[in-house]
């Protein structure tokens, strides 16, 4: 069952959060040019193909899950790519492995677990999330 805040429209919710990510130049290029299947190499040992995309989302720390000091409970993020098992997002804050996050997108909410985080620049972290479950949000 969705909570009161979740029942607001995605648009209203995301507008209430500040966008604090500082996209790096290479990321801007990525979002402008990358289409089709994301490049990878053998060393990355990926299980599924990733598809680059661009979209905004809200990340939310799941109730009772561990949280490092200073981490915001709810924040605005950018979806970078999607695969069958995971989602890559760009955030302004660092997330730690095994943290559980809810990723709210316009039409679905994903239950995820942080696999890894890499810093790309100031206020810019690339976070790999493993999808544990999802919930489709139906338009009212």
């Amino acid at each position: 069952m969705l909570g009161n805040d979740r029942q607001q429209s995605f648009g209203q919710l995301i507008a209430s959060l500040e966008m604090r990510i500082q996209l790096t130049e290479s990321l801007l290029e990525f979002f402008e040019s990358e289409r089709g299947v994301a490049r990878t190499n053998l060393f990355e040992l990926r299980a599924s193909t990733r598809f680059p995309c661009y979209g905004e989302c809200i990340t939310r720390v799941v109730d009772g899950a561990f949280r490092m000091p200073g981490q915001e409970l709810e924040s605005r993020a950018i979806i970078q790519n999607l695969s069958r098992k995971g989602v890559g997002i760009i955030t302004h804050q660092q997330w730690y492995p095994e943290q559980t996050l809810e990723v709210q997108m316009p039409s679905a909410t994903l239950s995820t677990r942080v696999a890894r985080t890499r810093k790309l620049g100031p206020f810019c972290f690339e976070v790999g999330l493993i999808i544990a479950g999802h919930e489709i949000i139906e338009e009212s």
Binding site: Q94, P97, E98, T117, R118, K119
Partner: protein, 319 residues
């Protein structure tokens, strides 16, 4: 004694208070044969211990077969030793170092994270207490510790060094113990790495290096599953390969984004690795190690933390 495999022990692990529990042999420098020095139930006299301390040419040994018995003896008597004010700090450090190697060897082999964290917590308290003993200098500690590189020895040494450095930087009591335990746990992620890669004598190829670089992440994952691991210990495990210039791994954070305990661990981790014997090279001297580390200090380390460590260990360079 010919034909019986012997292993060396430190004379600092002997006491005039208790029997050692195993036969102890000595071998003066230049001689082939070891001779019985103490029978298992004998207690060393003060005079004999003083002689051993004064002589650099006499080495002590026990039978390799009795190694477990010797370790058990140390563990059983450890608390008694540790609480005894008459036992000098350097003897306590030598004994604690042996106990740590033994406990970590057992626990890491058992590979149960809960049990590892539990065992290291108590050891961390002892390490922290020793670090604040004014009579124990950094130079003495470097001399006492084993320098054969292996995950148990390395982790034990890093814990000693971490707490010495943290104490110098002003940390006390619980915080110090937490950092010491963090030092013991910082490489726990290596338990997930194939020993053939971990102990490879030559250069690692790109694929093997990528595997090695997974250990901070693996260690962090392990510790998140254990309630007893503190946030400081989690971060020391996760961030000890981060660099101050942001070019480290696994995340690439830099400067003050790296927790202070991780910055401490990073300095002593590199120092310990360089001053230890590796399969492909001998231990570097303190002077060589500090010179190499100084060259990369602004890129790799917190300058203030490194300079503090340099002060702690460089007292030995003149001697």
């Amino acid at each position: 004694m010919l034909g019986i495999p012997l292993i060396p022990i430190s004379h600092l692990t002997l006491s005039s208070l208790f029997p050692v529990g195993t036969d102890v042999y000595l071998r003066p420098k230049g001689t082939k044969d070891a001779i019985l020095f103490l029978a298992a139930d004998q207690i060393a006299t003060e005079e004999a211990l003083e002689l051993l301390a004064a002589s650099k040419d006499i080495k002590l040994f026990i039978s390799q077969k009795e190694s477990q018995k010797f370790q058990k003896h140390l563990r059983d008597n450890f608390d008694l030793w540790f609480e005894n004010a008459a036992v000098p700090a350097k003897n306590k450090a030598a004994m604690l170092s042996e106990v740590i190697r033994n406990v970590l060897s057992d626990e890491f082999t058992r590979n149960d994270t809960h049990s590892i964290v539990d065992a290291t917590k108590q050891l961390g308290v002892h390490v922290a207490r020793l670090a604040t003993e004014k009579s124990l200098t950094g130079a003495e500690l470097c001399q006492i510790l084993h320098h054969d590189y292996g995950t148990f020895t390395h982790s034990g040494n890093v814990a000693f060094y971490c707490s010495l450095l943290a104490a110098e930087l002003g940390y006390v009591n619980e915080e110090l113990a937490e950092i010491a335990t963090g030092g013991l746990l910082h490489d726990i992620g290596k338990l997930d790495i194939d020993e053939r890669v971990l102990n490879k004598p030559g250069m690692l190829d790109e694929f093997e290096f990528r595997i090695i670089k997974e250990h901070p992440l693996g260690g962090f994952r392990r510790l998140t599953k254990v309630n007893e691991a503190t946030q400081v210990q989690l971060l020391m495990t996760y961030e000890h390969h981060e660099r101050i210039d942001g070019k480290g791994y696994p995340v690439g954070i830099g400067g003050n984004e790296i927790h202070i305990a991780s910055r401490i661990c990073s300095v002593v981790d590199v120092f310990e690795a360089m001053t230890s014997n590796r399969p492909y090279r001998g231990a570097l001297s303190l002077k060589q190690t500090l010179a190499i580390m100084t060259e990369s200090v602004t890129q790799a380390f917190d300058k203030e933390v490194f300079e503090c460590w340099e002060t702690i260990v460089s007292s030995r360079l003149g001697s």
